[in-house]
Structure formats: structure tokens, C-alpha cells
Amino acid sequence: MNYRGPSRVRVTHKPMPEIQHPSDAIVRVTRSCICGSDLHLYNGLVPDTRVGSTFGHEFIGVVEEIGSDVTKVKVGDTVLVPFNVACGECAFCKQGLYGNCHESNSQATAVGGIFGYSHTAGGFDGGQAEYVRVPYANVGPTVIPEGMDHDDALLLTDVVPTGYQAAEMGGIKTGDTVVVFGAGPVGIMAAKCAWLFGAGRVIVIDKLEYRLEFVRNYAQCEAYNYESVGDPVLFLKKTTDWFGADVCIDAVGADATGNALQTITGRKLMLQAGSATALHWAINSVKKGGIVSVVGVYGPTDNLVPIGNVLNKGLTIRANQASVKRLLPRLIEHIQAGRLDPKALITHRFPLEEAAEAYHIFSEKLDNCIKPVLIPPSARL
């Protein structure tokens, strides 16, 4: 498979991959998938996707050749190959963050190496090919257990673990209502796995009827077409007693439909990280204090928090307005004990009548302003 430009690929002969590192294996591919994430590449949404690249990060195959350091698999083994290229030895791999390996991608630090996923993810040719070079063959490739259906094994390279982790990252508690945006393979799997974590209700939102029907049957969940429910955020609030879901999962990413402005600016003009419609809906549909889990792929952006890198780096974001009442007793103790001195922050005092100037000074960081205080006339008497 040979990428030729946005929405253009063809099949060509490429040189046979070779062992280039002692930990390499050459795998003869027996099955590979096109993943929803490949469509981001295909549509030209992922920077540094070079003409001539071969995609494919979901594949299984037979080990044909091994490098001198390879001990965990041998020639002839039938293996499933996780989509991450991971060394197993760096600080991140040691902590189980195999998706964040520091020894597999010279070309970016936010994301580890991924088979067939642009030079931003290391420039490795992928498995939509006959043969593929598999670095770190002692780490990723796993011999398919005897008796396991090879199609099941194939989906273990990405879809199943990604869907499972989407649910896992939701921190689902027993009885939680979980909403999954996107009924693609990962979204379907996330919905299925949400039950394993004890969800009390699982809802999937998509727009394609056939996918909705599939996920209803496969994941035994509720599934709704956002085009027929009107505003999906409003719908989800309404159906959760006006609270919002406990957990929302974005299993869509940059290719989302459903919002014309996002489509034009994100997908067509590529002025932002792709269309962030699903992320918007997830954030706005979750309850206060809820959890949003993101496995949808997003590109770089200059006008938004780089959400793609939040995903790629496995960051944890916790956020809220302060719950003052809860904190007050402890803080009062600190101040009374002299451990905190809040008033030291006040640098400026303005008559209330000069509020406009006060705002401007504060907003423009003029006069080393840290904390302005407005004083009404009555207080100045």
C-alpha cells in the first residue's frame, strides 16, 4: 500500500524490508486492518505523512526472520503485533506506558513510534503490506495463543485494547452512566467494555443507523442518532435527569461530523486540530465532576489546547472551580497560624469609579499589577 496524497493510495512493489537493528524481526503479514485512525492519514490530516508511505498498524503475521538479539519469538511463530513500537526499557515503558516509548520515535516527543502512522509517529512502514519490519521484537509481538481465532488476535493489536482503555480511563464506578461518542470499532468496544467496569447504563451516539443497530446488539446498550435527537447535549442531559453522564468517551477524534463550522475549519481548511465536535459534546454532556476519556486522534492546533498531545502523551487533566465551602476550615487554620498571607497579593487599589482603568491595567498587566481592589465610595468615607 502506497500513499500518494490526500484520498489517494495505490498498491506498488516496494523493496523487501530488512533487519536493521539486532532487535528487529521481519513479519510476513497474514492479516491487517484499516483503522479509523488511518483515515486521518488518508485524508491528509496528519502532518508529515509522506508520499510513498505504507500505512497499517493493526496486523498479525508469521515471523520470517529475526535479528541477533531476538529471543522472545522465533521464526515460524504466528504473532499479533501491537500498534506501538516500544523498547520496553526506557523510563516510560518501565511504567507500562508503552504508547509513550522514548526510544522509538526521533521525530516527535509527544508520541511514541507507531507502525504506518506518518513520520510524526516515527516513519515506520506499516502492516498493510506483505512483509513488515517489526522493531523491538522481544517486546511487542506476542505469539497468538493456540486455539485463538486469528481475527480476534488481529483486533487485539489496537481496537480491543483501545476500546478497553477508553473505558478504563473513564474511571467508571459501579452504576455510572457512560456515554460513548462514535460507534466505530473503538467506540463499540468501549461501550462493550464499559459494562466490565460496572457501568449502570451505556449510551452510544453516532449518526449512521447501521452502526447504531450494530452497537445496540453487540454491546447491549442504548444507541441514538444525533441527527434524530436534535441537540445531542440537550438530549443527554434530559435522559440523565438533567445531570449529565458520569463518564463521556470521545471515540471519534479529528474526523467528526455534526457541526458545519467544525467541519469547515477543522477538516476542510485544517485551521485547527480537526473537527472537535465529539470532544465538545463529551465535555458538555458529562456531569459536573465527571470524567471525559479521549481516545479520538487529533492533530496539531494553534487556537485550542493541543488536545492531540494530551492523548499522545497520556496526560491527566483534572479540573474544577474551587469548592470553597469544603476548603474554608483548613485555609482559615493556615491563615490563623500564619502559614498563608493572602493580602500580600494586593498591589493596586482603585476607586470604584475608576473601574475601567483598573480593568485595563489588570488586563494589560500594566504597572506590575497583580491584584487590584476596587473601593466603592461609601467605603472611602
Binding site: 537493528h21 507500562g96 526521533s106 447504563r201
Partner: protein
Amino acid sequence: MENTTNNYSHIKGWGIDADPTNEPTHPMKHYTGDDHKRLNWERPPLQPETVEILKSNERPNLSAVLGTSVPPTGLSGAIRRYAFKYSESSYGHWLPLLLADRVNVVEGLIDDLKQGHIPNIFAEKGWKADLKYNPKGLATKVLVTALATTAVLAYLRRKK
């Protein structure tokens, strides 16, 4: 509207992975203290750099293994080299890379023609499948393309 609350008998394995200590950070990261080892782990053998590898300026060295699928070449390669002067946090990095990708597409076409291969765009775009699964859409596409081409040609002739 179906509400499955408190009815889990039809869900095989319901709650089997429930873990009250599962906060968002917990399952992904096995804390070992290795966070603070920084770059001091024992590095695997280093793969020889046989083709040009562009390196993020946010790391001190190349990773131990390297993807060598499509080294930078031509004008797109020059643009990519320029992009890598900027960090991943800068649009000076990403915009040139996107530009290079588009330039690279044209270079790919030129390479094809140089090698005497006329790319079959219809096939490469997979439009053949439309014949079977989306004939109406294909007809619309063809019609729109034909109309646009005719309009452009008519405009050019009129100008002459």
C-alpha cells in the same frame, strides 16, 4: 426509552473489572520511580543512521530504532528540514510539514511521469467502488467535475 439501570443479568462479565481505586491516572501508569531516571536507562543498541532522519529539537539524540520508510527528498524535504528547526509546540513546525505534504504530492506525480507511469487517479481514489455501491454519488461527482471543467474552459475561451 430503554433504561438498563439495575438490570445487568444480560451483560456477561458485568462489573468484573470494577475497581474502586481506579482514578483516571491509576491503570495507565505503574509507578516505579523511573520517572526521575530521565535519560539514564540502559539504551538498546543504536540503529545505524543509513538514511536522513529528521530529529525533533525537543530531544537530545535519535531514538535507538529508526523508521526509514521515506527519507526527505526534494523541495518537500527542504521544507521538512526547515520545519524541524521548530519545536512541536510551534506552528512553525506543523504548518511547513503540512505544506511539505502537499508539495510532496506534486513531486509524487512528477516522479510517476518521469518513470513513464501515468497515475490512474480514478483508481487511486477508489472511485471504482462507487460504480457498485454509490453510482448516484459517482454520477454527481462526474457531473460536477464536467460542469466545473466546462465552465473553466468556457471562461478561458471567452477571455481569448
